[in-house]
Amino acid sequence: MDLFEYQGKQYFARFDIPVSRGGVATTVDEAVKVADASGYPVVVKAQVQVGGRGKAGGIKLANNAEEARLHANNILGMDIKGHVVKCVWVENASDIDEEYYASFTLDRGAKKHLLMLSAQGGIEIEVVAEKDPDAIIKLHIDPVDGLSPGAAHKAAVDAKIPAKAVDGVAKILVQLYRCFTEGDCDLAEINPLILKPTGEVHALDAKVSLDDNAAFRHPEWDEYRATEELDAREQLARTHGLQYIGLDGTVGIIANGAGLAMSTLDVVNQVGGTAANFLDIGGGANADVMAAALEVINFDEKVTSIFINIFGGITRGEEVAKGIVEALSRVTLKAPIVIRLDGTNAEEGRKILADAGIPESTLISKPTMLEAARAAVAISNGK
């Protein structure tokens, strides 16, 4: 789950990482109130999960309440690359002497934590990596040992952070590492990490991505979940606990297992179709799950055919078949189903479907993944 900047800053604050005084606002009046409380000048920042908001006019400096009102009014509701701004973060503006970069991620190849640190911040790290790769230091950290204050200090020196800022940067690195590990982040990034004229080091931005697998030990994440940017289809899928990702095509996809679901998208594409979604009903899915999956697919107005691709392992064919029969009794599907059923108890499943007396205009069974994909795409394309 990716956090908005303001949520990232609130998350940082939990780990004592210094951030600017400020608050979040969804209306112009609220924004002015927060600006008054933060102390002028303030920066009004659009909260969207997309890069380039500064260029799009989504970040503005305000010297007084009047300007704050003007900017908040312009920015709220603004469309930035297809993302509508629903709230702004208003914070006390910082004087900046220098800008650095710091992040922690998991290096999957090395199977260790990775610190990336650079004395060149404020621009995208990919740009720095391309122009001046030596300006970024990469330090692998064994997750069993963690990051010691001494190692953080050395990293700051190695990254050529100026002497006056080294202590401050090292301190924040240790705090950010704690946020990354104890906070169960996939990514914890500060860009820019700034040095103020007063000598303080401070996080001016926050990019945090949380590991969904760790949600069970973070009840505080619930509030972030409420603001996640999901479309209506994804919202509905979530209420059913389904692994669903909305796409733009016309063939609704239901498969068991992430790999098979991805592969189903690929095959549909190869035979000239487009997938409306990714939907993995997971291992051991029963009739209820299948019925819920069909309900979500049916909700998508673009869908003109449905491809159910099941290879039973834990998932059993007869459960899948029962789910389809039950779903058909509950909802009127707007598009026909093409099903390919193999693996555990597939025979029983196929028999249940055959005995249910479902007309061929509603459900067609095909023996292989490729044939089923071709049939689903042909229907979807109106052939």
Binding site: N213, G257, A258, G259, D266, F278, G312, G313, G343
Partner: protein, 299 residues
């Protein structure tokens, strides 16, 4: 021969008294796997269908001589279960648990490397391993795996995805091609066993004549495998990579299946494998067809 597990492998099931552990543990036993015990703290002294249950892995190992463990416990308990098995001297651990936090996985992996270098972990979030006719640990339906055939050419399978592992087994069965061992390494960011570990074993396994590899988007494991193949694998290979059409920045079901910053794309992985001499199919069926051609050419 087979890799990692065979007829002699003695398996305990951590979580045998739970729903998943019981269902799959008994299925594994019915397949012919030596399931010698179960472990559930507090339930020592009981049994599941005659399989004795112990309070700890150490007790189970002492009583049964088990050398492998099948872990089917919830994500919260799995990291400790893995380390307990390693500490008790278990040589081969299969963990099917899905949903373990990445931070825990990274810690467990590095602890194993440091403190228990002789223990191999397969998974987490994997379907397990099957050496057809000899041993099946995990959730694979044994009947879809074609037995290896003496005097004929047999194939080793290694895959990141569960259902695509079954699909690969199925594609080979349709063509009557025997399987030496099929390993599902799992779709998480820090798998205990990676492609290279399996490729090395298959290369050294006299029963394996060719190899199918099934990868997916995210990370760089396939690219690293391609480098290894170029340098060390002389047996012919076919491959398939899932996720050609996956949008960037979205986790496609598996925690590890994500294209980020233009890295980890299916196309990049397919190109790397092709350059290493692997025949790459555009879907699982094509990978099966390519393997059939390879087997025919081997004679």
């Amino acid at each position: 021969m087979a890799i990692f597990v065979n007829k002699e492998t003695k398996v305990i099931v951590q979580g045998l008294t739970g729903g998943q552990g019981k269902y799959h543990g008994l299925r594994n036993q019915a397949y012919g796997t030596q399931v010698v015990g179960g472990v559930t703290p507090g339930k020592g002294g009981t049994d599941i269908a005659g399989i004795p249950v112990f309070n700890s892995v150490a007790q189970a190992v002492a009583a049964t001589g088990a050398d492998a463990s099948f872990i089917a416990v919830p994500p919260k308990a799995a990291p400790a279960a893995i380390l307990e098995a390693a500490a008790a001297g278990i040589r081969f651990i299969v963990c099917i648990t899905e949903g373990i936090p990445a931070q825990d996985e990274a810690k467990v992996f590095n602890t194993l490397v440091r403190d228990y270098p002789k223990t191999r972990l397969l998974g987490p979030n994997c379907p397990g391993i099957i050496s057809p006719g000899k041993c099946n640990i995990g959730i694979t339906a044994g009947e879809i795996a074609e037995l290896p055939q003496a005097g004929k050419k047999n194939v080793g399978i290694v895959s990141r995805s569960g259902t695509l592992t079954y699909q690969a087994l199925y594609e080979l069965k349709q063509r009557g091609i025997g399987v030496s061992t099929c390993v599902g390494i799992g779709g998480d960011p820090v798998p205990g066993t990676n492609f290279i570990d399996c490729l090395r074993e298959f290369q050294n396994d006299p029963e394996t004549d060719a190899i199918i590899m099934i990868g997916e988007i995210g990370g760089s494991a396939e690219e690293e495998a391609a480098e290894f193949i170029k340098a060390h694998v002389t047996k012919p290979m076919s491959a398939y990579i899932a996720g050609v059409t996956a949008p960037a920045g979205k986790k496609m079901g598996h925690a590890g299946a994500i294209v980020s910053g233009g890295k980890g794309t299916a196309q990049g992985k397919m190109d790397a494998l092709s350059a290493a001499g692997v025949k790459v199919g555009n879907n699982p069926t094509e990978a099966g067809d390519l393997m059939a051609e390879i087997i025919a050419a081997l004679g």
